[in-house]
Amino acid sequence: MNFNQKITSLHLDVLKEIGNIGAAHAATALSDLLSKKIDMQVPKVEMVTFDHMMELAGGSETVVVGVFLRIEGDIEGSMFFILPIEQANRFIRRLIHDDAFDFYKAPVSELALSAMQEMGNILSGSYLSALSDFTKLKIYPTVPGLSVDMFGAIISTGLIELSQVSDHVIVINTSIFEEDIAVSEAVHGHFFLLPDPDSFATIFKVLGVS
C-alpha cells in the first residue's frame, strides 16, 4: 500500500482526534500520578521524512528518556513516550520522593528505572485504552521497554516496520508539559503514535473516512 497518495486532510483530522483523545487520558493519568497539573498541546499529525522525524524532539543526538512499546491486535504500530532528561528527573523525584535523583548520574537506581517504566506503562495504557474505546478496535500493548539514550537511536526502533514500505512516516505527536514550569517547546515530553502502514486503512474504516 502506498499510503502517501491516499491520505487527505480529513484523514489527518481523524488521526489528530485519536491523538487528542489518547493523550488527554494519558495527561489525566499523569496528573493523578504526580498530583500535579499537566497540560497538553493540540496534537500535531504530520507526514514527515525520517530525517525530519529526528527533529521532533530536539535532534537525533539529544539525550532523552524513552519508553517504547509495540501495539498489537486489530491495529499495529509503535508508541513512544519521550521525556527530556530534566522533565523525567522532576517526575521521578516526585514519584520516588528523592530530590537528589538524576538520570545523568549513573548508575540509575533500579527503583527509579522501575518507576519510569511503570509511568510509561500507565500513561501508554490510558492512551491506548481511550483509543480502543473510541474506535472499538482491540488494541493490546506489549510490555514497555525503557531506554535513556539518543533520541534518534530510540525513535528509529519505531521506524523499522514503516521504512519497509515508505520513506515517510505519519506521526501523531502530542506534547505534554507541567503548567507551573515555563519551558520552550523543545523540552516538552511527547507521545508519539506511529501506526504501521497497514493499520491506517483499519483506523479510517472504523471511523468512517475510508
Binding site: F50, V63, V143, I160, S163, Q164, D167
Partner: protein
C-alpha cells in the same frame, strides 16, 4: 590557501562522500548501522546510514536505495568510484546495530540491529572490502564521525563514553 574543515552530516537512510580535511558524521545510530568505506591514500571516505538489511524487504518499488544494506553499499561504491577511487584499495569500518529495547516479542523487526550488521558484512565481503574494525551490537545509541586524513572513526555513546576505532 585557507582550509576550512567542515563536518558533512549524513541523515538516517542517507549517504555522502567527503575528502580530507573535512570529516563526515552521522548521529543517533540505534539499530541502524553506519558504514564507512574509505581510501587511505586518497583520503576519501563515504558514509552511509543503513536502516534495513535487504531491499527485498522493501514492499514498494523506487524507494531510497540508501535505506538498505545491499542497494546502499552498492550505491556508495558508485559514488566513491565517481571520485576516482579504485575498489581494491578500499577498506571499511562499521558501527551501530544495537538493540535499544529488550523484547520477548519474536517479531523479526525487533532483531533488526544484528541483522543489519550481518547484511553489511555480507555486502562488504561480496565486494572484497576488508572490514578493519567495528563497534557493533550492545544496547547503546552511537554517534560516529570519520576523519579521512587519519582513517579514524570516533564513536560517542551516552552510556559508554567516547572511543576511537
Amino acid at each position: 590557501m585557507i582550509v576550512s574543515n567542515t563536518i558533512v552530516k549524513v541523515g538516517i537512510a542517507q549517504m555522502d562522500v567527503v575528502k580530507a580535511p573535512n570529516t563526515i558524521r552521522t548521529s543517533g545510530l540505534g539499530s541502524c548501522v553506519g558504514v564507512v568505506i574509505y581510501d587511505e591514500t586518497k583520503q576519501i571516505a563515504g558514509l552511509i546510514h543503513v536502516m534495513l538489511p535487504d531491499s527485498s524487504l522493501g514492499k514498494v518499488d523506487a524507494t531510497n536505495v540508501a535505506k538498505f544494506a545491499d542497494t546502499g553499499i552498492k550505491a556508495l561504491l558508485d559514488l566513491l568510484k565517481a571520485e576516482g577511487v579504485q575498489t581494491f584499495k578500499l577498506k571499511a569500518k562499521i558501527a551501530g546495530g544495537a538493540q535499544m529495547f529488550q523484547f520477548t516479542s519474536d517479531k523479526s523487526s525487533m532483531r533488526i540491529g544484528p541483522r543489519n550488521v550481518e547484511a553489511v558484512k555480507n555486502e562488504l565481503n561480496k565486494y572484497k572490502i576488508p572490514l578493519i574494525s567495528e563497534d557493533t551490537g550492545g544496547n547503546s545509541g552511537r554517534t560516529i564521525e570519520f576523519n579521512p586524513a587519519t582513517s579514524k572513526l570516533n564513536i560517542r555513546t551516552v552510556n559508554r563514553g567516547v572511543s576511537e576505532i
